[in-house]
């Protein structure tokens, strides 16, 4: 058995204790879903080869959409792609006129990540990798760096907003060249859509346009092409909590968003986007509600409808819609063994709890909260990780004794009643938080 890197181990444990999906090390605790992962892997490879892909990851609350999305993110990074992810919210949508689309783009770009900077905030790195290439070219050919930047981005200039994009990249270089930190950070701010008015952009960077609500998707395509120029294989965009579109009360606003989705879908399926993949996570009602879901938009319904031959046990993994089934008790058992292994840093000799303990734990949870202990495993996992933490810190405590004290509640979608996010409070430094004595 391979040893597990301490960094990944800590990241996984810490996230799970806080009840959030880990940002790295997902492969350590991935369970089942072989076909889904394989389907996505093919998508990622196609994008990395200059193709395009789009998938709607559909699953119930707590079924692991976000986990799956993050897993795909790490796969895409491994394939030398750049990733960008964001949750939709009332203030962040695909299409709007009040700044919400720009705000979504800004969030995506703040989270933009590369393999060596998987935690996000990689915009400067990407731009600098591109500029460094241009710099080398310029040195070899004896031409000016700015001219080289423009030359290399010529194909961008033909696209909407491309000319100014190239100008801003050139401005970044000029800022670096003259030690003008302000200019550098303004350039990055522009690329992250943080300029709200054209006047500001012109004063700071001399360009006439900004990334605004209307040009968000165009800029995603530009960015996809740009990262290829910077030496990456493409851009993978992950949009979670798509249910926020479904929740829009205004029909017009909702349909405008669906129209934007249709545009992306068409571009990706017809191959007119290159090196560009999109993954959207949402609940079944977001997909299937005939009044407000994706299906309410006729053009999308016909494209997304299930393959009529895929019934019963037959599943079509090439459809744009990927349905995540809930975990089975067996899956959960495997997951617990994996967690145990992560805790033991990959060394079975250091297991904190024997197999009996796993069974006992599952039984305890099942008695307390019924079958949701494996269907929506978030709280089960948190409780288990807490149990392992306390066993680790207190070798004298026995698991049998602790087990009866594990307090566990069913996991309910917090969006149902109060407008609360899935982020539970951050983990504390003591494991006893959810134990009763």
């Amino acid at each position: 058995m391979n040893a597990i890197k301490p960094r990944e181990r800590d990241a996984v444990i810490q996230s799970l204790r806080a009840g959030v999906v880990p940002r790295s090390g997902q492969h350590l605790i991935q369970v089942g879903r072989f076909n889904e992962v394989e389907a996505i892997l093919r998508d990622v490879e196609r994008c990395a080869d200059g193709g395009s892909a789009i998938r709607f990851v559909i699953g119930e609350y707590g079924s692991g959409k976000t986990f799956f999305l993050n897993l795909v993110r790490s796969i895409a990074l491994e394939k030398r792609m750049v990733t960008a992810h964001a949750d939709l919210s009332p203030d962040r949508r695909l299409q709007s006129t009040g700044g919400q689309a720009r705000s979504l783009y800004a969030e995506l770009m703040r989270n933009i990540a590369t393999r060596s900077k998987p935690e996000g905030g990689a915009m400067s790195s990407i731009v600098e990798r591109f500029v460094a290439e241009a710099l080398r070219d310029a040195k070899e050919n004896g031409s000016s760096v700015e001219a080289t930047i423009h030359l290399r981005l010529q194909d961008l200039s033909e696209m909407t907003g491309g000319y100014d994009f190239a100008e801003v990249v050139a401005a970044y270089w000029r800022g670096h060249d003259t030690g003008n930190e302000q200019l550098k950070s303004d350039a990055v701010r522009w690329l992250r859509a943080e300029f709200a008015t054209r006047t500001d952009a012109r004063a700071a960077l001399g360009v006439r346009t900004i990334i605004d609500d209307a040009s968000v998707y165009d800029h995603l395509k530009l960015m996809a092409r740009f990262v290829r120029h910077a030496g990456f294989s493409g851009l993978f965009v992950m949009l979670d909590e798509m249910v926020n579109i479904y929740k829009l009360a205004n029909t017009q606003a909702r349909n405008a968003n669906y129209e934007q989705i249709l545009r992306i879908l068409n571009d990706c399926l017809q191959g007119s986007a290159s090196g560009f993949g999109v993954l959207m996570g949402g609940t079944p009602d977001f997909l299937m509600d005939m009044r407000r879901g994706l299906y309410s938009y006729q053009a999308l319904q016909s494209r997304l409808a299930e393959n009529t031959f895929a019934t019963g046990d037959l599943v079509d993994y090439t459809s744009p819609v990927l349905r995540l089934a809930a975990l089975s008790p067996e899956d959960l058992y495997v997951l617990l063994t994996k967690l145990r292994l992560v805790f033991a840093a990959g060394d079975p000799a250091r297991y904190l709890i024997p197999d009996d303990g796993l069974h006992g734990f599952m039984e305890h949870c099942s008695r307390r909260i019924g079958e949701s202990y494996f269907r929506t495993p978030r709280t089960t996992i948190t409780a288990f990780v807490n149990l392992l933490s306390i066993l680790e810190q207190n070798p004298q405590a026995s698991w049998q004794e602790l087990l009866g004290r594990v307090d566990i509640h069913g996991d309910a979608d917090p969006n149902q009643d109060a407008p609360n996010g899935e982020n539970t409070p951050p983990s504390d430094d003591d494991a006893l938080a959810s134990f009763r004595l």
């Binding site: 009332p90 400067s124 000016s144 200019l183 700071a204 001399g206 026995s398 951050p426 430094d429 003591d430």
Partner: protein
């Protein structure tokens, strides 16, 4: 373990029976809280055979000495026999029972054998002795196991949550907890004691609205903050900036980076500025349905359940959106302070010097009260009595500290100085950000008052105007007499012909004054022009003719100027006439092809109307000007030094180029890098830091399947990966 259990059972039995026989003393009996909000659920107690009764237990307040087993302890404990645990069915763990055996602890015994949930009744006689010795010694021995601290804390917990003493005693007990928190840094103890203080605060906050105490460390989900925010929402008051910051820093995704630590004051100040900018009318929250329900799980096993407190205060802190927004503001503030913080990292002693302050973001600089800035502001205001002022550069540089990496007179420093002046509402010419040379250490400079519109970069139109101006001034100065009329004429020509923003016009006028007042840079312009290839000079000339023709006519004075410029460019003036002729005979615009035909008046001849400029032509010119903008920069930027940095004999590693290889070699030498040192290394090797780090890490991931480094500041090197890479390198070098 089994023994402990047996003892436990025995004790349970003992106590239950005792209770049956003799009711507990009134002062010590656990009293149900009169407040509805505190609920204590009883666990079923177990039955057991009878045992003889012993003296009742009671709380001994601080200051009432107790003698036990040769130790004299100073109260603040439960003392006596037979106090049940809160949940019933067991002995109170914190109870010091004089009937139990005590033995003198061995020399270096500090309680290593204590279990996770100690109780006075079931710890060893030796441990009891040690505990009593610690109590006698004033509860401050740092060597002691935290288990004893907890044992004592259990008593305080019970007293505060169950007995609910008078306020004076409460304050005293809280002070004692605070004191212990200062002494014992065990994470578990910190968490429990913090939690207890929190819930006490909440239970009190219903009565008199005390201002919340903000969380002492980021990431800690402070109840005080939630309560404070809830009160704000209820009363409709806007959130104070300090609370907003605490909220932002408590966000699970928030990472406190170095700038927010190192420049804490600046960070807080900047946050409140940005916060106010984002919420000009104050950030007000609507109360939500969810109310704050606080659970405190007592450390003491005596309770057996959490203490819950349900308030009617809305739990607005649970709302996702405001937290996200505030976090984004805080992160952006951190980013804005990066440059300043890195400079301080390198020069910690220079906190108040201009060289450090200049790196602060503009909104902060504008309100900064440091002496250095105030002096400069005063000087600028004195100089700028008129809209434009010719001043001596020496006087300006006198304000600047001469440090190694901010030498006066360099381009880099000049940009900083120009930015600094900008935040004091003053512009300067020459300004390297607009394609000019650096601000020399002596000689004449022009200061001017900035207006509302203040570009910080040259737009293409401005570049064109600036070129025209420079060339025209060069020509005008050629005969060595520039009259006021000529000046005015120049200015008008430029203004009429190019689409400049108000800020650009201001600057252009300043530039003209500077050009006329100095002659240093004209020769260098000539030199640079001569160095340009002929086709580029022709492109520039054509552009100038177009500019002159933008108003529909090339006037005789313009022809005159242009002729001289042609001379300056080393071009044949005859070409000017054909170019001017071509420009004058271009087709006249009537209407868009394919447009719906409406009756139209026959347009006037080009040039006969001088009502304004033809915006279509301007637009066309602007798009053309974009092509020449690169050329313009060639002319006006300082000699484009193609730095061939350090042509050191460095082999190219792993396909990296020379500069990056050099960076890599240096980089792996250390196990940890401060960000500012990395910046210096990158400058020294002439590479772009972020991009290079990305490439290097990528390379390590490719070859060793692990990252070479981790973290932002400091950057930690993964030594095993570094070794592996270096080995590989030596092998390839050997081969």
């Amino acid at each position: 373990m089994a023994i402990v259990l047996y003892i436990g059972i025995f004790v349970v039995v003992f106590v239950v029976v005792k209770r049956l026989l003799a009711p507990a003393a009134p002062s010590a009996a656990p009293r149900q809280s009169s407040k509805e909000s505190v609920t204590v659920s009883e666990a079923p107690s177990r039955r057991a055979p009878p045992t003889p009764p012993i003296a009742p237990a009671q709380w001994r307040a601080s200051g009432s000495p107790i003698d036990i087993g040769g130790y004299r302890i100073n109260g603040m404990v439960y003392f006596g026999s037979g106090l049940r645990s809160v949940k019933g069915g067991g002995i109170e763990p914190a109870l010091i029972d004089p009937a139990l055996r005590i033995s003198t602890p061995t020399d270096h015994y500090n309680g290593e054998d204590l279990s996770y949930w100690p109780g006075y009744d079931h710890i060893s006689p030796q441990a009891r002795g040690r505990y009593l010795a610690w109590l006698e010694g004033g509860r401050k021995d740092p060597e002691i196991s935290v288990g004893f601290v907890f044992l004592f804390f259990y008593g305080l917990e019970r007293r505060l949550l169950i007995d609910q003493p008078a306020n004076d005693e409460k304050r005293e007990l809280i002070a004692e907890i605070e004191r212990l928190r200062g002494l014992y840094t065990n994470a578990s103890f910190k968490r429990y004691s913090g939690g207890l203080l929190d819930i006490l605060r909440v239970m009190q906050s219903g009565e008199g609205a005390e201002p919340p105490v903000l969380p002492e460390q980021p990431g800690y989900d402070s109840l005080a903050l939630r309560v404070g925010l809830g009160h704000c929402a209820l009363s409709g008051a806007p959130i104070p900036a300090t609370w907003a910051l605490a909220w932002a820093e408590a966000h699970p995704d928030y990472r406190r980076r170095t700038p927010a630590e190192r420049c804490r004051n600046e960070f807080e100040q900047l946050f409140s500025i940005e916060f106010l900018r984002r919420f000009p009318d104050g950030c007000k929250l609507k109360p939500n349905k969810r109310t704050i329900r606080f659970e405190y799980l007592p450390a003491s096993a005596s309770f057996g359940h959490a203490i819950t407190h349900t308030s009617d205060i809305p739990d607005v802190a649970a709302l996702k959106e405001p937290g996200e927004t505030l976090k984004t503001i805080a992160m952006s503030c951190t980013e804005q302070l990066d440059a300043h913080s890195r400079y301080l990292g390198k020069h910690p002693e220079t906190r108040d010097s201009l060289a450090a302050l200049v790196l602060l973001p503009a909104p902060l600089l504008r309100v900064h009260t440091s002496v250095a800035i105030a002096a400069l502001r005063e000087w600028v205001n004195a100089a700028l009595r008129e809209p434009y002022a010719l001043v001596d550069a020496t006087a300006l540089w006198a304000h600047w500290p001469d440090t190694d990496d901010a030498k006066p007179g360099t381009k880099r420093t000049s940009i900083l100085l120009a930015q600094l002046l900008g935040s004091l509402d003053a512009g300067i010419e020459p300004d390297p950000r607009f394609g000019n040379s650096a601000i020399e250490v002596s000689g004449t400079i022009v200061l001017f008052r900035l207006g509302e519109d203040r570009p910080t970069i040259a737009s293409t139109s401005y570049m064109a105007a600036s070129m025209l101006l420079t060339l025209a001034t060069t020509v005008a100065r050629a005969d060595n007499k520039v009259t006021q009329d000529e000046e005015l004429c120049l200015e008008q020509q430029i203004r009429a012909n190019l689409d400049l923003s108000p800020g650009e016009e201001l600057r252009l006028r300043a530039q003209m004054r500077w050009l006329l007042a100095t002659d240093i840079n004209l020769n260098s312009v000539k030199k640079r022009l001569e160095a340009l290839p002929i086709e580029k000079r022709e492109l520039a000339a054509k552009f100038l003719v177009d500019v002159a023709n933008a108003d529909g006519e090339i006037s005789p004075p313009e022809i005159d100027t242009l002729m001289k410029i042609y001379g300056l460019l080393g071009l044949d003036p005859k070409k000017l006439f054909s170019a001017a002729h071509a420009a004058a005979t271009e087709p006249v615009f009537v209407q868009m092809a394919g447009a719906v035909s409406e009756p139209y008046a026959i347009p006037a001849r080009n040039g006969s109307v001088r009502t304004g400029i033809d915006m279509r032509k301007v637009a066309a010119m602007n798009s053309e000007s974009e092509r020449v903008s690169a050329l313009l920069r060639d002319i006006f930027s300082e000699e484009n030094v193609t730095t061939n940095p350090a042509a050191l004999p460095v082999s190219c590693l792993f396909g990296l180029d020379g500069a990056r290889s050099r960076f890599f070699e240096e980089f792996v030498q250390k196990s940890q890098w401060r960000r500012e040192d990395l910046e210096s290394l990158a400058t020294e090797c002439d590479v772009l830091l972020e991009g290079t780090l990305d490439v290097i890490n990528d390379l390590a991931l490719e070859r060793c399947d692990d990252a070479l480094f981790d973290g932002e500041d400091p950057v930690e090197i993964n030594e095993s990966v570094a070794r592996e890479l270096m080995n590989e390198r030596h092998q390839t070098a050997g081969a």
